[in-house]
């Protein structure tokens, strides 16, 4: 059976398209994870981002994927989710 259309089981008070969570306006006291996907010179770019975030009062924690060719390992994603309020990930060059 095709499962391309589902019927909403709920109150239909929420939008049918899910909205991304709102970004916090204030970074002070929050932990921001920076995920380096292991592209060349990504670290240089992220160093700059880190110093800008720290100037805003955020605590920056750095993470690095073993290789940009594969999705982040589950353990790395769990580490980020456990330790960070927000995460920034560069997706390309």
């Amino acid at each position: 059976m095709s499962e391309t259309v589902l019927l909403d089981p709920g109150s239909e008070r929420d939008p049918s398209q899910r909205e991304p969570r709102a970004l916090p306006l204030d970074l002070s006291g929050r932990t921001v994870g920076l995920l380096d996907i292991s592209k060349p010179r990504g670290d240089v770019f992220l160093d700059e981002i880190a110093s800008l975030l720290e100037a805003e009062g955020a605590t920056v924690t750095r993470f690095r994927k073993p290789t940009f060719t594969r999705p982040a390992p589950t353990e790395l994603r769990q580490d980020i989710a456990e330790q960070c309020d927000l995460v920034l990930e560069g997706l390309a060059d």
Partner: protein, 477 residues
């Protein structure tokens, strides 16, 4: 007159009668316009005189609401003027006014079933071509989206996988009731959202119900929405409780519910999914979720699903009867329940010592020093029930004896007694108090044939007018 009429004939090649009537079709098509919808592919019937359409997708057959092939329909303009099913020479001649039609054919041959009536087909066609009366919002999935994962991500699941509620499945579910999908039953707490039969069917699909369970689920939702059940408070409480569903009466057996071995446990589809469907309605329609309005400190596993059937025990009145219905009526009774506490007595062979064991177990409901607070259900197993049956004790006599044995001196219950701070105000020291309020102790029969164990199911600490009372509704188709 035949000259002014046009005809539609619905056929399938895999029907001997449809093959038999080809000469009659040929004759008819030479006298009036005929369009043929053939259900199983192109190339049949082999006539150049009629406009033959391949109706393999069954769109035409569905729109014409055909039950049998062949079906011949006559139109006057756009109006259907009559139809006949199968091959009945007299009926075809009467419908077409062609008095020599099918002279070479036998007088009568029954037709075959239309493919639109094959098992499971109708809900798919209704979903595709309309006619099911569905109004719930449709959620389109992206090509690589997994429907079960989507249900999780949208917050529709209780934590276990749900069956994705496709329109086809929901229409198949709705076949389980005679009620209009658009009928609303009331407002579901905590968000007080009107709930329709359609929304219940969607959640029943997700819970894994079969269509024949739907009337029970609907009655359970109706009972939950009755004011005395206090569903809002039951959801919001920090206490353990959630709705327990007991089904009493003949329909419980007919839909395959378990009242025997492991009745309170896992493994029976009807027990498992009916209770779960009610919880999903509260969650999805009402918006009642743990961490939201559901503030349970610990909860209990029955909040996934807690539903069982009462065993039919001719020696005792049934729960339906105890609640004011007839024995042959099927009812659902909802109870604001915590978990199951076992009570063991393998030695008693007389009612009195067994009642004393039961009473000792029931004494600890909520707290050994709390009275007139929580209600309780006592699920009496066959081996324990036998002790009462052998001595001729009715359910009412057992219940009354338990109330007597659970009449407690206030000095045991006041704050500080037994070294426990919990308890009643000091002023009640001289009183005798019943553990359970009037109507607060309910006995039902269930369980497997071996094991001298019964089950105490304690209720929410807020019972009766200040909280929840058991509510019973008859199940109707």
């Amino acid at each position: 007159m035949a000259e002014e009429s046009r005809y539609i004939l619905v056929t399938k090649r895999d029907c001997p009668t449809c093959q038999l009537i080809e000469p009659a079709l040929e004759e008819l098509a030479h006298s009036a316009p005929v369009r043929v919808f053939n259900q199983d592919g192109a190339g049949f019937p082999a006539t150049a005189a009629a406009d033959v359409i391949d109706d393999s997708e069954l769109a035409g057959s569905w729109a014409l609401d055909v039950e049998i092939v062949p079906t011949l329909i006559r139109y006057e303009g756009e109006i259907e003027a009559g139809r006949t099913e199968g091959w009945d020479r007299a009926a075809w001649r009467a419908l077409t006014h062609l008095n020599d039609l099918g002279a070479s054919l036998p007088e009568f041959r029954p037709g075959c079933g239309s493919l639109t009536r094959d098992p499971g087909i109708a809900p798919r066609l209704a979903a595709r071509y309309g006619g099911g009366g569905l109004t719930a919002r449709r959620i389109d999935l992206a090509p690589l989206e997994d429907a079960i994962e989507t249900c999780y991500e949208r917050g529709w699941s209780d934590g276990l996988p749900v069956v994705p509620p496709t329109p086809e499945r929901v229409l198949a579910m709705l076949a389980g009731t005679n009620r209009d999908p658009g009928e609303t039953l009331g407002e579901v707490p905590p968000d007080l959202v009107p709930v329709s039969i359609e929304k219940i069917a969607i959640n029943a699909v997700m819970a894994g119900c079969r269509p024949e369970y739907l009337p029970v689920v609907i009655s359970a939702v109706e009972a939950a929405l009755e004011e005395p059940f206090c569903m809002h408070g039951l959801l919001a409480t920090t206490y353990f409780s959630g709705p327990m569903v007991v089904v009493s009466g003949p329909l419980a057996r007919r839909i395959g519910m378990n009242a025997g071995g492991n009745a309170l446990g896992q493994g029976n589809r009807a027990n498992a999914t009916i209770g779960r469907a009610l919880q999903l309605v509260i969650r999805n329609v009402g918006g009642g979720r743990p961490g939201g309005v559901d503030r349970a400190a610990l909860g209990n596993p029955g909040k996934y699903t807690f539903c069982f059937a009462e065993d039919d025990d001719p020696a005792w009145t049934s729960l339906s009867e105890d609640r004011g219905f007839a024995r042959d009526q099927t009812t659902v009774t909802l109870f604001a329940a915590d978990g199951v506490q076992g009570i063991v007595d393998q030695k008693a062979r007389e009612p009195e010592p067994l009642c004393r064991s039961f009473a000792a177990g029931l004494r600890v409901v909520s707290h050994p020093k709390m009275v007139q607070a929580a209600d309780a259900f006592l699920v009496v197993s066959p081996e324990h029930a036998r002790v009462f049956h052998d001595a001729g004790w009715s359910k009412q006599r057992v219940t009354e004896r338990l109330h007597e044995l659970l009449t407690i001196d206030g000095s045991e219950l006041v704050q500080g007694a037994g070294g426990m701070a919990e308890g009643l105000p000091e002023k009640l020291k001289g009183r005798s108090l019943r553990k359970f309020r009037e109507g607060g102790l309910t006995l039902v029969r269930a369980g497997g044939s071996a094991g001298m164990f019964s089950a105490i199911i304690a209720g929410w600490g807020a019972s009766g007018e200040i909280g929840s009372s058991p509510v019973t509704r008859e199940v109707k188709p």
